[in-house]
Structure formats: structure tokens, C-alpha cells
Amino acid sequence: MTRLVALACGAVFAAGVCISGMVRPSKVLGFLDLGGAWDATLAVVMASALAVHVVAWQLARRARTPWLGGEWPGPARTVIDARLVGGAALFGLGWGLSGYCPGPAIVSIVSGARGSLVFVAAMAAAMLAFRPAQDG
């Protein structure tokens, strides 16, 4: 059942990033690049997505277990370290250069666009090769 939910959620996620235009680096860079004609629509996407999630966490707090059983994720960690900030900065650098973040990039490979294939292959290789000690 978890697998079916995952399949359906992956499908809906992909529809969301396709419809919002997040799968197009030109659209994402139009949002991140303040120098050109600024495209604010992705800010609206982000804000509405956040609103949905705030509600989801409230619902999660009221139920003892997830609908399909199991456990809720533990409390969020609070350690602020260089690894967190440095990692986020590296991610921001790659994101601002390419206009791809992981989710939309993965969806994009079905288009056969060489740029997305190269990006996702490099990201996958980096994730395979680079495994910092799990602290989660």
C-alpha cells in the first residue's frame, strides 16, 4: 500500500511541477534572476505549497499514527552547523546556475533533453560517490 501511495504521490508531484513550469530551467531562472524580466509566479507556487504543508503538519499532530500505520517522523533536528549551511550554499550555486532542483530535474529526463540527462546523471553519480556520515 505504501508503494501505491508513493506511486500516486510521485505522479501528482510530477503533474504539479509540469503544470507550474518548474521543470523548465528558463522559468526557474526567470524567477531566481533578478536582473531580467522577473517572473514571480513561482513565488506564488511556493507560498501556496507552504500553506498546504502547514495544514498537513497540523493534521499530523492530531493523529496518533499515519493513516496507514507506522510512525511519524521524529522531531526536527536543531543542530546548526557548517555542513548544513555549506551544503545548502553548494546546492544554491548549482540551482542558480542550471535552474534545476532535484525533483523537477528527475521528471525532465523523460523529455530526452540532453541538458537534463547530463544534470541528473551527474547528480546521481555525486550522490553515489559522496556519502557523508548519516547524521539523520
Binding site: 504543508h53 498537513a56 503538519w57 526536527a76 551544503g87 550554499a89 548549482g94 523529455s111 555525486a126
Partner: protein, 128 residues
């Protein structure tokens, strides 16, 4: 829809489906935790393909940058998200919405660096 899908994943299964974590788990050990990450990725690719077939303009087919630059960006995103334990979905949505300090700081950082990078690159190479 983006948020709805991750919210249902959380509420139904108790799993935080940040995409960099889903994908890293998938490429490293696809069978872990019942293999749900592979199913999530399969759902993404299936619907992506449907969009591509219905309207190819959904995607950018021409690369905006030389491929080696995109490869470098991919490595930066891969390493950066594993160091920080999250990306736009994991920290930006799932974490920030539960007011997790780490996620808020990570999100502010990658947005600040992302905007700076895109703005500088746009000034040099032409705006999107």
C-alpha cells in the same frame, strides 16, 4: 499539487518525501524500506512522459548552458543536498512548514545563493 502529494505521503505513510532524499535513496539502495522510493520515481517519470507526449513544450529541450557546466551544476546539487540533507522540497517545503530551524536556515541559504548565482550568471550570459 506539489505540496499536496508530499503532504499525502506524510499523512498516509509518515514519510517525509524530500526529492533529493528520495532520489539519493533510490540510486544508492532502491530496495530499502519496501522500495517505495522507486515507486515514487516511477510515478514521476510516468506522468512526466504523459506531459511530454501531450505537449512537448512542457519541457525545455534545448540546453541553456554547455553540457559540462550542467554536469558541474548536477554535482554541486548532488553533493550540496546530501551535506545539507535536503533540497527545495525537503527543507523548503516539508521542513520550513514545521518551522524547523535547520530547514529555515537552509532554505534562506540556498535561495540567497541561488538568486545571487542566477542574477550574476544572467548578467554575464544573458537573462532567461
Amino acid at each position: 499539487m506539489i505540496a499536496g502529494s508530499l503532504a499525502i505521503m506524510l499523512l498516509a505513510t509518515g514519510r517525509i518525501a524530500g526529492l533529493s532524499g528520495v532520489f539519493a535513496g533510490f540510486v544508492r539502495a532502491p530496495g530499502d524500506d519496501g522500495g517505495w522510493r522507486a515507486w515514487f520515481v516511477a510515478g514521476m517519470l510516468g506522468v512526466g512522459l504523459a506531459f511530454e507526449l501531450a505537449d512537448p513544450a512542457t519541457f525545455d529541450h534545448a540546453a541553456r548552458l554547455p553540457l559540462p557546466v550542467l554536469a558541474l551544476a548536477g554535482v554541486l546539487v548532488g553533493v550540496g543536498t546530501r551535506l545539507a540533507n535536503g533540497c527545495t522540497s525537503g527543507h523548503g517545503l516539508c521542513g520550513t512548514s514545521r518551522l524547523a530551524k535547520r530547514s529555515i536556515l537552509a532554505t534562506l541559504t540556498f535561495f540567497a545563493v541561488g538568486v545571487a548565482t542566477a542574477t550574476i550568471a544572467g548578467a554575464i550570459a544573458g537573462h532567461a
